[in-house]
């Protein structure tokens, strides 16, 4: 069944196909060549020619080619390494690649980070509105009058991804607190593998409610107001650690990762970096503190035995 997913996952994973990846890579290489010779004339270290493979999950606005181009160009310029962006449909796939060392680093969700805490190290954490925190929202169709989460009983509920904190774990933990589980509480649940898809599913009426990343919902309210206006937020969770950039423990001390970390933390300092931040609607990237993810860890702990 898995091979069919390629077809339906095209939108979320724009860079999935080999040709697309090649195209971007070639463009990056060309840009890099120009940058090295004309702009910097930086010393061409043999080590710097080794590309950094950077994984992306649908935690952020991954359907924006301009953003991907800008991010890739910034990181290539800032690290001095060619950047290979790797996109997969599910969190699970990216996490597996990251944990197994097939990716140098990846932008993952806080929940997989907690799950694989022993094997992963944080590189940087984005700051949204100046804080490395975000919320999970429960949304319903705009025309629906809902008082509380209890009113969502027997809904068709859209989740983002089974490995997403805001798009799954938060709601699951909430239901656990209420003494139930998604399978019992909802008539049916569906995974849309993207926060934007959750908004689409709820906005169109395919699902009656959904769990979505609050950051994505807020940002999309500016970018695609027509789509977001068809949904209403009925519950916001407590503030939780923003999806971080992580690397596998085995790569953590390596120069390429250090360069990558420096590049993220200095993003707000250069015009090219600020352009990327503007596209992401983020303030900056911060030096991570594991405590920011205690909230997520607490939920995982509460659900231990069920998950």
């Amino acid at each position: 069944m898995r091979r069919f997913r390629v077809i339906s996952g095209q939108e979320e994973t724009v860079l999935q196909s080999g040709s697309a990846r090649f195209r971007l890579t070639r463009r990056a290489v060309l840009a890099g060549a120009i940058g090295q010779t004309a702009l910097f004339a930086a010393p061409a270290l043999a080590q710097q020619d080794k590309p950094i493979s950077f994984g992306l999950t649908p935690v952020f606005l991954d359907n924006d080619l301009e953003l991907l181009d800008a991010l890739q160009a910034y990181l290539r310029q800032a690290t001095g390494h060619p950047i290979e962006l790797v996109s997969r449909r599910t969190y699970q796939e990216v996490t597996a690649l990251l944990v197994s060392g097939q990716l140098d680093a990846a932008w993952i969700c806080g929940y997989p980070y907690i799950q694989f805490r022993d094997e992963l190290e944080l590189v940087a954490v984005p700051e949204w509105n100046g804080k490395p925190l975000y919320q999970s929202y429960i949304i319903v169709g705009a025309s629906r009058q809902v008082e509380s989460v209890a009113d969502l009983k027997d809904d068709i509920h859209a989740f983002s991804d089974p490995d997403s904190n805001s798009g799954y774990l938060v709601t699951r933990a909430l239901l656990h607190e209420l003494g139930t589980s998604p399978d019992r509480f909802f008539r049916k649940t569906m995974f849309t593998y993207g926060h934007r898809n959750v908004i689409r599913a709820v906005g169109s009426g395919l699902a009656q409610s959904g769990s979505v990343d609050g950051y994505v919902w807020e940002v999309m309210r500016e970018l695609e107001p027509d789509l977001v206006e068809r949904t209403n937020v009925i519950r916001k969770s407590e503030w939780l650690g923003f999806p971080p950039i992580a690397t596998s423990r085995q790569y953590f001390g390596k120069p390429a990762i250090k360069a990558l970390k420096r590049s993220f933390l200095a993003m707000h300092a250069s015009e090219q970096g600020r352009h990327v931040l503007r596209l992401l609607k983020l303030t900056s990237f911060a030096d991570p503190d594991e405590k920011w993810f205690d909230g997520i860890a607490a939920k995982v702990a509460a659900l231990r035995g069920e998950l």
Binding site: I156, A158, F191, G205
Partner: protein, 486 residues
Amino acid sequence: MRPLSWFKQLPLTIRVPVIVISLMVAISAAISERVLDRLAKTQESFLEELASSHVDAIAASILPSVLREDSWEIFDTLERMRPSKASILPVETVVATPSNIVLASDQPQRRETLTPLATEFLDQFTMSGFRMDGDKGLAYHTRKIDYQGQTIGTVFSLFDASPLLAERRQVLLALLLTNVALTMVLGLIGFVAVRRMIRPMQVLESHMIDAASGKSTPIGDEEMPRADQEARRMYRAFNAFVRVEQDRKRLSRQLAEEEKLASLGRVASGMAHEINNPLGGLMNAVDTLRRHGDKANVRSQSLDLIQRGLQGIGDVVQAALATYRPERLSRPFSARDIEDLKLLLGPELRQKNQRIETVCADNIAGPEASVPAGPVRQAILNLLLNAAAATPEGGTIRLIAERMDGELRIAVLDEGGGMPAEARTMLTGLDPRGSAPSTKGLGLWVVRQVADELGAAITVTRLIPAGTRIEFRVPLTLEQELTDAA
């Protein structure tokens, strides 16, 4: 009145274009109907093919999602496969389980996920696949999703067929406008062509109508069509006919004139007798006067004799003049004319030892209304001469004149063996100008001419045991008109 007979009364210049236009309209209607029918079929199969390939593509794409009953992926696929080109416009696509539970619709608001499909919705679709509803402008397509020989779901697709129907309406409009324009142009051409074609016929018709009313004129060279040989032949034939007719009329007039002179001759020889008879006495009286003129009583007797003789001669001459110079006689017909006629007929009667009896009513020359004397005298004289000719030696001719019902009725009765059919037709036949007069019946032909001129009626009655009665009835005219006419 039946419409067809009404139509037949229209001129040819209108009838033929109307027929041409009607045929054009019928042909164009038939062609348009065929074109639209073909268009409808082509459009339908076009839409069916398009819909079919669209639904096939959807079915192939969503098969794995349907197997997993993954509503989101089905919905996502439907959204992404919604065509943007205008040739096919899906209104709604619904994917359902074999038990018709909605897995996903691209209109989830209308078709809630995981609810059974409404019967009204299902009834719009046929299991055979494609159905088009021209009234609603919608097309319906169903497609089973089969996997390993089992049906795992159904795709229901509704298409907007209104662009096709609009196209059909446009074609219909274009056809209509083209046909109307073509029909009008061809009708106009037909009208002009027919007018040109039948113009010679119209010229002929107007000349024939003139000829029927007695004013026949040949068709002039300026009216002769140059190119149309058929019309030229027809015109020449008509002109020949007109010339023959004109010759015949001239001949008839000539003959009538001759007959007048012939009857005058007959009357003149009689008149010679009338004049000759007293002449002997007059000569004797003159001789007596010469020899015994000195005797007063002889002179007086002789002069009396001479005066009476000259008086008689004068009367005869006067009667002849009145009859043969009728233009001098514009006074009304009176009893005097009857006497004149008797006088004129006298010699003819004496020749055959015949008698005439006249019955003349006192009122025939009323003061207020009458008939003109000249033509009536001419006609009655001819009737009397005819009667004298028909009546055997020693027979009697009768003349009865009376006034009745606003008419002057003069009947002439003979004792002959009856009037030949030819002569009777000449007097009473329908066509006044028919039956050309032969020399023999010319007297009666003149009677008929006079009768037609005066609006008089003639009746011919067979008498028993022998004889014929011919009645000549002239409507009375007011005195004033008579004078004016004169």
